[in-house]
């Protein structure tokens, strides 16, 4: 039983980290209609900035640098490139982001080399123990922080002028624009928010139980795509739910692999995608997505 619980908690805490990334996909998509293929490298960039600045300025200030850097790059990408597309449409925007991804990832890979950059997180390899279950402190922190962040996001979208403006812009851009909402500003806010979430996710994705920063981190961010999709394209709560589901199902598939051999070895790596296809078939708008989103 404690084994089952360990896997469940492992999966859920990892799932919350995925949720942070998935929410970034959802926010960028709702605020500017872009499928951000470069999101993985923004995650890596945030973590990289933390790792290179922490020896001189300490861990927590470094986290702020990472957040600022990732958010800044997001805003710049939006302002300089996305808004200047020759044929603005979701297809070309997605390809544009692939170009950006190639640039970011190539340069970061070159800088990281085959070093494994430690993140210098103060919680090190500590674990939290209760009821016979040991969980890495970093993951517990990640879960707590993610819950706080999502509560903050909920407040932002539901209660603030900015957030309401963003929702209006997402629902109907031209009308919102006529109502005096500045689409440029809501777009920039969306990209900045996604950058903040990406940097936070990067910190937890690369600290214990992961060893540190390696270029493969950008790959694991890919797992957030099924999380985002199955939660619903335009829904932050959906992204949270999707992340939790992907984390949970992956952990359980891996944890009970010896009972699932009929699915082939390594099924844990495809199960998020299988889950995504099934959900899309049953509910094309995703679990919590709004029906409008599908009518693009």
């Amino acid at each position: 039983m404690s084994y089952f619980l360990t896997q469940v908690l492992n999966g859920l805490s990892f799932g919350l980290v995925l949720s942070l990334i998935a929410a970034g996909f959802a926010i960028v998509f709702t605020s500017t209609g872009v499928l951000n293929f470069a999101h993985g490298s923004v995650v890596l960039l945030g973590a990289y900035l933390v790792a290179v600045t922490q020896p001189t300025i300490g861990f927590w200030p470094a986290v702020l640098v990472g957040i600022a850097g990732a958010a800044g790059v997001g805003v710049l990408i939006n302002a300089l490139l996305v808004r200047n597309l020759a044929d603005p449409n979701p297809g070309t925007a997605a390809i544009l982001m692939l170009g950006v991804d190639i640039l970011l990832l190539t340069e970061l890979t070159r800088r990281i080399g085959n070093r494994v950059l430690p993140l210098g997180a103060p919680w090190g390899a500590d674990t939290v123990r209760f009821a016979g279950i040991a969980l890495p402190t970093g993951r517990v922190l990640a879960a707590v922080l993610a819950i706080v962040v999502f509560a903050g996001l909920w407040f932002l979208f539901a209660r603030t002028r900015m957030g309401v403006g963003m929702r209006a812009a997402a629902a109907d851009g031209p009308t919102a624009s006529l109502m005096g909402i500045q689409l440029a500003r809501t777009g920039a806010t969306g990209w900045a928010l996604a950058g903040v979430l990406a940097a936070l996710a990067g910190v937890f994705l690369t600290s214990f139980p992961a060893p540190g920063i390696a270029p493969t981190v950008a790959l694991s961010a890919f797992l957030a795509i099924p999380a985002w999709v199955l939660g619903g394209f335009d829904s932050v709560p959906g992204a949270v739910l999707g992340g939790l589901l992907v984390g949970l199902v992956t952990a359980l598939t891996v944890g009970y692999e010896s009972h699932l051999t009929f699915l082939g070895s390594g099924f844990g790596d495809v199960v998020p995608y299988v889950l995504m296809i099934i959900v899309l078939l049953v509910r094309p708008q995703g679990l919590l997505g709004s029906k409008e989103a599908v009518r693009v």
């Binding site: 214990f208 060893p211 390594g266 790596d269």
Partner: protein
């Protein structure tokens, strides 16, 4: 679109082509060459050209760069001492960025200028290039240690294959680390030729030694091994064999440590990187982690390794140190040995070099590889001996040499 006219032209072109066709081979002048050495592609009277197809901008860029530096330093030194067969050895380096399509194209661009390939780095890339090189009878070294490469007569494996490493890992666990018969061991491995080969060796050995294997497949994108580690602890694994990369080693060791599982972890050749000792997992790594190497570790005091390290330190004083240094030196040494054999046999054509490889028995590399490498048996690992090392913060490059080792199951492992 265009209709009749192109068709006519095409027909005319075909006609022209057919009339210009010939299927009788003109008498070739045989290989060129001066003196009593026959030469062909890639060899002139003054130079021997060899190629390196490596990954300088993809996932293995940094380790690959170390090897390229060491190759270059080695051949520069050889040339300063008079070269091979009275000729300078010139190295062409191309970067395939771990992309098989690039690797194949770059191989095509190289194959008409070189006599042998010093290295084709990477699993998918070498799998794409090896069959082409076999058709062209071009020697290929340094493709890693997967047994699948043993099927190619033109390939030279630098030391024991992954399956032999895996089998030796189990033997070492039983004979030296006190794992008892009847216990179970985890094998966490990459999907693919590397991981599957290590698993095959470990499974054979486990059967021989009365152990049970708990396999856990992962991919390079798996950087958090919490779920795998918990599963292994749950199933009562008393040791873990890891066929993956440094990122996975650090995560696995860290999580096992945090779960209070005080069990040995044995990695294969590419599993360790000294940079891991700066991560939070350092304590766990120092306590329990071993690495089975096909090549002597950087900290070995064998003369060959010392020479390799000195050469590297001179070539790149700030370079990263690790097992890549002696490996690159040893691989260059193996190729030099084969080229010299081909020279002695009077045939420095690409085919001649491959033939010379097939005659290379009892190759000695001054302690970089186990002594007496035997390349005369196609499909067999050139040796069944490996180096057993333990992670240490006092040894240079983080690995301390414990032993050279050849276990009974490694001896009884059959290829095929």
């Amino acid at each position: 679109m265009t209709k009749t006219r192109p068709a006519l032209v095409a027909a005319a072109a075909c006609l022209f082509a057919v009339t210009a066709c010939s299927t009788t081979e003109p008498e070739s002048a045989g290989g060129g060459g001066s003196g009593d050495v026959e030469t062909g592609t890639g060899v002139t009277d003054s130079a021997i050209s060899i190629g390196v197809l490596t990954d300088l901008s993809g996932p293995f860029a940094a380790g690959a760069a170390v090897q390229v530096t060491e190759f270059q330093a080695y051949w520069d030194q050889v040339n300063a001492d008079g070269g091979v067969c009275g000729r300078d050895v010139e190295m062409q380096v191309q970067d395939h960025a771990y992309d098989p399509q690039k690797a194949v194209s770059l191989y095509r661009s190289m194959s008409s200028d070189i006599v042998a390939l010093q290295q084709v780095l990477g699993g998918p890339t070498s799998a794409a290039v090896l069959p082409l090189a076999e058709q062209d009878s071009v020697y290929v070294g340094g493709v890693g240690w997967a047994s699948t490469a043993l099927g190619y007569a033109n390939n030279q494996l630098p030391g024991a294959s992954y399956s032999i490493q895996g089998a030796n890992a189990v033997d070492y666990l039983v004979d030296e680390l006190g794992i008892e018969e009847g216990s179970s061991i985890g094998v966490v491995y990459y999907v693919g030729d590397y991981g599957a080969d290590a698993l095959a060796g470990a499974q054979h050995a486990a059967e021989e030694r009365g152990l049970t294997v708990i396999p856990q497949e992962i991919t390079p994108a798996t950087t958090d091994l919490s779920a795998q580690a918990s599963a292994l602890v749950q199933e009562g694994a008393s040791a873990v064999i890891l066929g993956a990369a440094p990122t996975q080693l650090a995560s696995l060791a860290g999580v096992l440590g945090s779960q209070g599982a005080d069990i040995p972890i044995v990695g294969m050749n590419p599993t360790f990187n000294p940079a891991l000792l700066n991560t939070p997992a350092a304590d766990a790594l120092l306590a329990n982690t071993y690495s089975i190497l096909s090549v002597a570790p950087y900290a070995s005091d064998e003369p060959g390794v010392q020479e390799a390290n000195a050469l590297y330190a001179e070539a790149d004083p700030d370079g990263a140190t690790g097992w890549e240094v002696p490996l690159a030196y040893g691989q260059a040494e193996l190729l030099k040995n084969v080229l010299e054999r081909a020279c002695d046999a009077g045939d420095l054509t690409p085919e001649g070099v491959v033939t010379a490889l097939g005659s290379a028995d009892d190759v000695d590399t001054e302690g970089i590889f186990p002594d007496g490498l035997d390349f005369t048996q196609p499909g067999e690992s050139p040796t069944r001996t490996v180096f057993v090392t333990k992670v240490s913060d006092t040894a240079e490059a983080g690995l301390e040499l414990l032993d050279t080792f050849e276990g009974p199951s490694a001896k009884s492992y059959t290829f095929g």
